[in-house]
Symmetry: C2
């Protein structure tokens, strides 16, 4: 094992914590840009509660509303302009992964004179990775992306049909305020997508790691087992606060580095392929993951059979005939796909009305955005264009 | 679940990382106090390598050598005096848990004009919890206490026969440099004690938690299973670098908050009792833990049967007849005690030549140092003086 780890985010996890937003905000800034999404936080009163807490703490609030799913660079520019015009010195994200990701890049864009799209790694020769950003507080209203406690963001460019990421130290939030009560009103489908998203974060590092990482493996399995136990409970009964809490904690630890540190993951192939597909079709991120992940697993299981066998044994209790039991490995993937289907996720592109017309294009575009020195998609095993096309076709 | 988490330590984990000590040190200070223990780092060349790296980086080094196991407040005072006399602005701990703990309190004592013993919580009405400390870099040479990545320290006062702790934000190291090569020369008995120590950190939070913490439980079990798998390998073959690496990572995550966050632990009863016993007898900390922990478990299993049954099932693969199966719970504890014995730990006070003469004194003293509002030792269940005496007698 050889790795570095640093995550300075202050985490506060408590039902009702939203009422303390002003208290935390006042430690980091005096004028806040409040970034929100499509309106659910307004309809369910969360926005007003956040606003009250901030105003009670003496913090003027300037709104950047309407950040879309698959957040766009145009929203980032709009948010940064609002923050500049109003001399905001603090950014607060109140919403799901899209809102938090947009808020991160806004926080950096405010301090960057160039085009914010320069900061997103999208195949350009020299990305402008930001070195500074305004302080950020995340208040997730959805348990899914884990963006609340990491330094990554994924942004789309509608004009160029690109979707890609940036991940760097200055984008760590100062505070992540996790209030599971805020997730109680999330509808069943979005709850299921959140569960799929968080599990996929885990499977990416689990199956693309170096091996010889027993703690990381078991941590990963811990999160998957918990998400599979409490996810369906949260979907069945949205007001089950304990189930909501477990799913929210699972989502946060799925991508805050605790599981990944030392695992030596060589890539996030399922995410990279999904980003391209959703850049073309604007589908829900986790719906794309639910479709691509099992197909990718069946591809990777042929070379990483022992890890997939371990997954089948430890997650689904299947009995393997040794670590090279590909049948057992594939049976585990079938169980996983069946789980995704059982919670209401699509598992084929046809479920979303996407056909085979652009599969070569998705594959080429994925490799254009990210590839290793041999021109392959970083993964275990590294993927050629034909491999990606094969996975996509298997998921039609 | 209701909790806060913040751990800003920068972790570097890599075989050979010691050679980068100077590089990291130069980011935090210009004149270093280098704190070490009884001499093994001098004998095996680690001290010279650290010194070379620091001198190559242009950092003058002032030594505080000879910090003893169960580090004493007199060593803290001596180290702080050396740091002051030489205007050190950085403290580096190169050693095991005792060295790291002493270094933490030295880093705070340099900036405190009073008696450093004021900073250790030992039953005084108003402890002086430090709010500032010099920057600290930890370089553990032993996988055991996890002190490298947390903000706690345990210090003994020989004059008053007290041993107690302080835990506060400013004592977080800036950097924890984990180089598993440094642990290769640790002798078998110390390796075994490290394994016992780290597992006991886990069992304390696991068995004294709130329940309804599925991720925390599985994370805890992940660390125990890994320590039980790789600990014996590291003991059998000290130069097995992979086993050393796994044990070192297990020790760090056993007490950096990843397992404990949200678990709602109400106390560290085994540690608290052990601290008192070793204040009187200066025994190796983990030897005391190995003796007291199984005895405490048998006491607690009567009220926390479901958790102990889960432990028996998930760690030792025993089959329980329902969650209230006390026989299964007790059988799991027997297996755990057998494991400790198998790696060479003592499991009875008689193994160390300690008899029953002072058991009432240990119990009274434990409660004097820490108790809840009802005068009980914080634990699940809270312990009376008679309970503590009972546990100690069962361990004779």
């Amino acid at each position: 094992m050889k790795f570095k780890y640093h995550n300075p985010v202050r985490l506060v996890f408590s039902a009702g914590a939203l009422s303390r937003l002003g208290e935390f905000a006042s430690q980091y800034g005096q004028r806040a840009l409040l970034v929100t999404g499509g309106g659910s936080v307004k309809r369910n009163g969360t926005f007003d509660r956040a606003l009250k807490s901030l105003i009670d703490a003496g913090i003027p609030v300037f709104a950047c509303e309407g950040v879309e799913p698959n957040p766009r660079i145009t929203s980032v520019k709009r948010g940064a302009a609002t923050a500049r015009e109003n001399a905001c010195d603090l950014v607060i994200a109140l919403g799901g992964g899209s809102v938090m990701d947009a808020a991160k890049v806004i926080a950096a864009a405010v301090l960057y004179d160039g085009d914010p799209w320069d900061m997103i790694i999208h195949g350009q020769p020299e990305p402008h990775i930001p070195a500074q950003a305004l302080p950020l507080i995340t208040v997730p209203t959805l348990a899914a992306t884990g963006s609340e406690m990491n330094c990554g963001a994924v942004i789309s460019n509608e004009a160029t049909q690109e979707k890609s990421f940036v991940s760097t130290e200055c984008l760590y939030p100062k505070v992540a305020l996790l209030d599971p009560e805020l997730t109680v009103s999330v509808p069943k489908d979005q709850t299921a997508y959140g569960v799929c998203d968080l599990i996929t974060h885990i499977t990416e590092s689990y199956f693309n790691g170096t091996g010889d990482t027993p703690i990381q493996d078991r941590f990963a399995e811990s999160v998957i087992l918990t998400a599979m136990e409490y996810g369906p409970k949260a979907i069945a009964n949205g007001s089950d606060l304990n189930a909501r809490s477990q799913v929210q904690w699972a989502a946060t630890v799925a991508l805050n580095g605790w599981v990944q540190s030392g695992a030596g993951g060589v890539g996030y192939p399922v995410h990279m392929i999904e980003h391209t597909v959703s850049a073309f079709h604007d589908i829900t991120h986790a719906a794309g993951l639910a479709i691509i992940n099992p197909a990718w697993m069946r591809f990777a299981a042929k070379t990483s059979t022992p890890k997939f066998t371990q997954f089948a044994e430890r997650i689904f209790g299947l009995a393997a005939k040794g670590s090279g039991d590909l049948d057992c490995a594939l049976a585990g993937i079938d169980c996983f796909e069946a789980f995704l289907k059982s919670i209401g996720c699509p598992v084929r592109f046809s479920d979303l009305g996407i056909d085979d017309r652009l599969v070569e294009t998705y594959a080429k575009e994925t490799l254009r955005i990210i590839h290793d020195e041999n021109g392959l998609l970083p993964a275990r095993p590294p993927m050629t264009e034909a491999d990606i096309v094969g996975v996509l076709r298997a998921a039609l």
